[in-house]
């Protein structure tokens, strides 16, 4: 079995002391920022990107991946104990997890969340190992027109799955694409939209935009709200769930894992969508839907398994196609490029150690996370008592150092502040930043592939839908179907329900 041979090789790489250390650092950091509300994986990974420059590519990816799925573990702790989502993807965990905590069952809720996540993590690791190689095989045959259509599909799917108005989300993508092409045009060498500012000739740094729109914006928004926390720390005594809890939660864990793995692969998917979807599903299949929102253990088990599964399977499009499905994956692509590795299907064949090592490290990381999150839960709970007024200046210092150190330039910090303000305006106007970030990173790639495709077809715009390019045609038809589906009143209502109902 080639699969097992590959996985075995991956484990061989992943358990080397240095990689174990970075997986551990990633998991600790991930749990930390997961527990702390007000800082998410996007801002954290963006902050650490400049530092990864000094690491080898595998260690860098292992650490950054650990932050993403580690945050899914940590987020549930805050949701259950404080009723604040430590992470956006644990919003739905608040509903039943917090109720369980109020009933004195915080321990079982935390345990089910961690064990469910662990199970989901193991399954998702296998899903990546099985699904990625054939996908990469197909992707190797892609030409510029296929890539262009794939990116259109990815961006459309991302907008469909974002919440809020669809047309606003599409406009945000276009906005991101436009910001993405600022800088030197690779074909003609012309400086575009740089306004004679030399710092802009290399374009606006993606890390800087992500830190502004997800980091500073988040801090400003948090400062608007008054601090109010009620923590059930004293009640976390009995961790182990009862037999009955196990019986009720294992089907939910299975369903959450399956749904999360599937939703994670979709462009625009990932942890957030997976947890929302899983909660709706659990409520639907339950014979006692009235118990949801009042401390149903399935309402914790399902979404928590799903968000971890989704976080991991969202690596599939990134690793095989080089296309990010969410903002975190866009940063991962940034990390690869910093290391001088062009993301795409060739990564797996050219750097098998990197590919399989990363996958194996996810399983190792999940094991670490269970240990970090269950026996050491008391330590994380203590962290929650640190007031936000100590936290945000610290976060700001790290962001400012991170951005400044990119090229020792004050202008980069200014750009971060500008995008922070822009992100604030967008938040007030209910314009989602995630589609914009995806557009931003895909902008130059899309232009490049569009140009090549048009050159090859001698300017025929119908090349994307010609029968000689069935894959390209299929992507565009799929995008159209998605758009029409969301446009239909019945489904639009449903989509709104999924996002509104729970929050």
């Amino acid at each position: 079995m080639e699969l097992f041979a590959n996985l075995w090789m991956g484990f061989g790489v992943a358990v080397s002391p240095i990689n174990l250390l970075y997986a551990f650092i990633g998991c600790i950091l991930g749990t930390l920022i997961g527990v702390l509300p007000g800082i998410g994986p996007v801002a954290t990974i963006a902050m650490l990107l400049p530092i990864t420059f000094n690491l080898n590519p595998l260690a860098a990816l292992i650490m950054l991946a650990g932050i993403y799925y580690g945050a899914q573990y940590g987020g549930s702790t805050t949701a259950i104990l404080v009723n604040i989502p430590g992470e956006a993807s644990s919003v739905v965990t608040c509903l039943d997890g917090y109720q369980m905590a109020r009933q004195g069952r915080a321990g079982p809720a935390l345990a089910v969340a961690a064990l469910g996540s662990f199970f989901a993590g193991c399954v998702a690791t296998l899903v990546i190992a099985v699904a990625a190689p054939p996908l990469a095989e197909v992707a190797l045959k892609f030409g510029p027109s296929e890539y262009f259509s794939l990116m259109v599909f990815g961006l459309i799917a991302a907008t469909v799955l974002a919440h809020g108005s669809l047309i606003t989300a599409v406009a945000m993508v276009a906005w991101g694409l436009l910001f993405g092409i600022v800088g030197t045009d690779v074909n003609s060498g012309v400086l575009r939209f740089t306004f004679d500012i030399p710092e802009l000739s290399d374009g606006i740094g993606f890390v800087i935009v992500a830190m502004g729109m997800f980091g500073t914006t988040e801090i400003i928004l948090n400062l608007e709200m008054k601090e109010k926390r009620e923590i059930f720390t004293s009640k976390v005594k009995n961790l182990w769930p009862s037999k009955d809890d196990f019986k009720q939660s294992w089907p939910a864990v299975l369903r959450g894992t399956a749904l999360g793995s599937a939703l994670g692969i979709l462009p625009g998917g990932g942890a957030l969508l997976a947890s929302f979807g899983a909660y709706s599903l659990e409520k639907k299949v339950s014979s006692h839907p009235e118990r949801f929102g009042k401390g149903a253990i399935q309402g914790v088990a399902g979404p928590e398994s799903a968000n971890n599964a989704g976080a991991q399977t969202s690596f599939i499009p990134m690793l095989t196609l080089g296309i990010p499905s969410n903002a975190v994956m866009a940063l991962m692509i940034g990390a690869l490029m910093i290391q001088g590795i062009a993301p795409g299907p060739q990564v797996m064949s050219e750097k098998p150690q990197l590919f399989w090592g990363l996958i194996a490290s996810m399983w190792v990381g999940n094991l670490m996370l269970v240990v970090l999150n269950l026996p050491l839960i008391g330590m994380w709970v203590k962290l929650l008592t640190v007031p936000y007024r100590y936290l945000y200046p610290s976060i700001l210092v790290f962001m400012a150092i991170g951005v400044y150190s990119l090229s020792n330039n004050a202008f980069d910090v200014l750009i971060m502040a500008v995008f922070g303000i822009l992100g604030y305006v967008c938040a007030k106007l209910e314009c989602e930043p995630a589609p914009m970030i995806l557009g931003f990173i895909l902008g130059p790639l899309m232009e490049e592939n569009l140009r090549r495709a048009m050159l090859l077809s001698r300017g025929d715009p119908f090349v994307f839908i010609s029968p000689s390019k069935p894959i390209s045609l299929a992507f565009l038809i799929a995008s159209l179907i998605l758009l029409v589906m969301v446009g239909l009143p019945a489904i639009r209502k449903k989509r709104e329900e999924v996002f509104v109902e729970e929050t």
Binding site: V397, V425, L455
Partner: protein, 156 residues
């Protein structure tokens, strides 16, 4: 005409504005080229046009469909947090890491609900030591510690 959805009204305007700017700037300054050999202006004009159309739909829709009001802007944290970052960046070269960190910590602490000098000073000292140990000593980032005019900086 009455604006029924202020959020859409303003976001529509924002998109139209950006789109129009990018299209005009591209057409005036860069070469369009042809569909076969696209010039540097081609893609921006395409995207800018799309953005204008989308923005118009959102803008016009704001007169037809009911929508929520724009929540009030809270300028204190917005301005102070942004200012804190900018100060950090622009003070680093002339005044060094210590002064830059101080500016960032104190200005941003001032953006919060309650400001206490004692807390802010302790926070500054901790963050300063941490930045110095981890970033300057550990990761060897080339940050100056003291202002330019101090000839012999006591810490390195």
């Amino acid at each position: 005409m009455k604006i029924k959805s202020p959020k859409d009204f303003w976001s529509g305007l924002m998109f139209i504005g950006t789109g129009v700017f990018f299209v005009i700037w591209a057409v005036v300054h860069y070469n369009m080229g042809t569909a076969v050999r696209m010039g540097p202006a081609y893609f921006p004009v395409l995207l800018g046009g799309l953005l204008v159309v989308l923005g118009l739909v959102i803008f016009l829709g704001s007169f037809a469909l009911e929508g929520p009001a724009v929540p009030r802007f809270n300028f204190r944290p917005l301005i102070l947090i942004s200012l804190a970052c900018v100060l950090y960046g622009y003070l680093m070269k002339p005044l060094g890491l210590i002064a830059a960190t101080a500016a960032l910590v104190f200005v941003s602490a001032f953006a919060g609900h309650e400001f206490k000098w004692k807390e802010a000073i302790i926070l500054f000292v901790i963050l300063m030591l941490f930045s110095w140990l981890v970033f300057v000593r550990g990761l060897t980032l080339p940050f100056p510690l003291c202002p330019d005019f101090v000839a012999n900086c006591p810490i390195r």
